[in-house]
Subunit: 337 residues, 2 copies
């Protein structure tokens, strides 16, 4: 491993910047639009509506089991596009590097971004790099913005959830959150728990193709977890949501870590899961479609939309108990993504 | 001024995040697309090609004469779109806040963003906020990405500069760079020098309308200054550029500060200037159009594209001297934008 470091000069806009661009960015992210190095990328446009999203990634540590900040930055922005029913098309890449970052670490992150893009079928078409003095940042912060295309007739929003709709969760809760938190706390978990970071656009495309008009809402429960996202859906749809406590999928290691740390899986961040709100009579078909994809093979029904106080989320236990689930509050879990 | 501060919890995705979004972001950036607070914004699409760009802003100090980091983030990204001949349409806003940032300072920046958007006729349609622990960032870093639409027939690129084309600079060099550097060094300049931060899309639209097909290249000389940008144009077009030393416009205060600090105006950052490469026989008409706009009223011809070694930029002095101008090298001017 080389000891070559990022210097302030790499953000100056001069020769050092150009070397960084050609030796790291173009080398790995190579595509004709990015390679032209103009002030903006120009994209052909198939018409129809556009989806546009942005997310910054400040996760600490930058490398973790199951991924790294680069993969997260690609998957997270792809997923934000997919949650509106859009087909992800192009990403921007904005880097804020701390002076002294090892060149090799930067290159490892860029290679990871390149792999994640290839695997998902998207391209980085425009980028920018700034360097801040040592102690004014932390290794690497990444912003990815994304553009996607929305097909005619697709209209997905948390305000379209309807009474009688069923809530499906595409897999287990908290894998990403617990992976990052235990890693940061230096706690070694038994087994091979890793971040669930993964792109969800192919599973979403399969759902929209199989059940046009019946997929009302899609949301990925990242920061704030399933609890906060369900609260937003209930709020925006003007309905209540009832969740079946026994149905909530959590891996044993995540449960164990939550008990140890005094955390609740419902509030933990996920990076490769989504909540699907589907017409009640199409829930079985939605599950069948999801189970046929690698991203949704552990999908389960966890609850339903019901008439009631707008924004209220209630968890029901088998013995007839019920408790209200509020959004995350006063529980800072910084730099989880 | 209130002492209310940004806490880690404001980046958690829970209730504190929601309060920040409604009390600051929605309050000032108010528009129907942003207000829906979905994972992505959905934009109507007039067809044609899209321009897409990204830039992160890490300027220090965040408030300076003539502007602040918020205005810079709006203008800079608008200008990157305009430099490809695109009509700026929508912006994303990604914030990385340092724990302890004063709420009032954040709000001041957001108000400034809102004003700059209104003035330029663009909208922030999607956003994201992360909070990093104290000492892991520096007050506020902003990423804005932008989407613009490119009209049929418009095709602007640094590779289209042709032999015989004339180089116009839209105004004086180095106002932004010297404003930031002297502010940071605690040097008080005589007079009222301030950053030139300003959106250039209206001047560009006037040029493209008045001289369709004759505007070959547009570039804004930000980091690295006019010298680095001219080198890129010469490189990409495969030509040489000759610059007339006497024609280069520099304000007296900037010249004085450059002498004091041992700097060269050609390498200083600008945030409201552009280089226009236009067919030689249309240079007078281009100047006339630019002089009719507030952004270009000080525009001057500074040189021309000539056959010769690809990528070579030469400055000629009245007494017949000539020197080669290289891109910025080994001169770190961090956090100028």
């Amino acid at each position: 491993m080389s000891e070559k470091m990022i210097l302030l000069d790499h953000g100056s806009g001069g020769l050092a910047s150009q070397e960084l661009i050609s030796e790291v960015f173009i080398k790995h992210l190579d595509n004709p639009i990015l390679n032209s190095l103009e002030d903006s990328a120009i994209l052909e446009n198939p018409g129809g509506r556009l989806a546009f999203t942005t997310d910054s990634y400040v996760v600490d540590p930058i490398f973790f089991p199951g991924g790294d900040i680069g993969k997260l930055a690609v998957h997270g922005t792809i997923n934000d596009l997919a949650m509106r029913g859009a087909r992800p098309h192009a990403l921007s890449l904005g880097l804020i590097l701390e002076e002294g970052l090892l060149f090799d670490e930067l290159e490892r992150v860029i290679i990871s971004i390149a792999e994640a893009c290839r695997e998902a079928g998207v391209y980085v078409v425009t980028g920018d790099t700034k360097v801040v003095p040592k102690g004014k940042g932390d290794k690497i912060f990444i912003n990815t913005s994304g553009i996607g295309f929305v097909e005619e007739g697709v209209d997905i929003s948390s305000k379209y959830a309807k009474e009688g709709d069923v809530v499906i969760l595409s897999g287990t809760m908290g894998d990403h959150g617990i992976t990052i938190m235990t890693r940061r706390a230096g706690i070694a978990l038994q087994g091979d728990l890793k971040s669930d970071t993964m792109p969800l656009h192919r599973m979403v495309a399969a759902l929209l193709k199989g059940l046009p008009g019946d997929i009302h809402t899609l949301r990925d429960p990242t920061r704030g977890g399933v609890a906060s996202t369900l609260n937003e859906i209930a709020e925006n749809s003007g309905l209540s949501i009832e969740i079946d406590n026994e149905a909530l999928p959590v891996r044993p290691q995540v449960n164990a870590a939550c008990e140890l740390l005094g955390l609740e899986p419902l509030y933990l961040a996920n990076e490769g899961k989504c909540l699907v709100i589907v017409s009640g009579n199409k829930a079985d078909e939605a599950l069948r479609i999801m189970h046929g994809t690698p991203e949704g093979k552990e999908a389960v029904v966890i609850g339903k939309l019901v008439a009631g106080k707008a924004g209220r989320v209630v968890i029901r236990t088998p013995v007839g108990g019920a408790r209200v689930v509020t959004p995350l509050h006063g529980m800072p879990l910084p730099r989880i993504c």
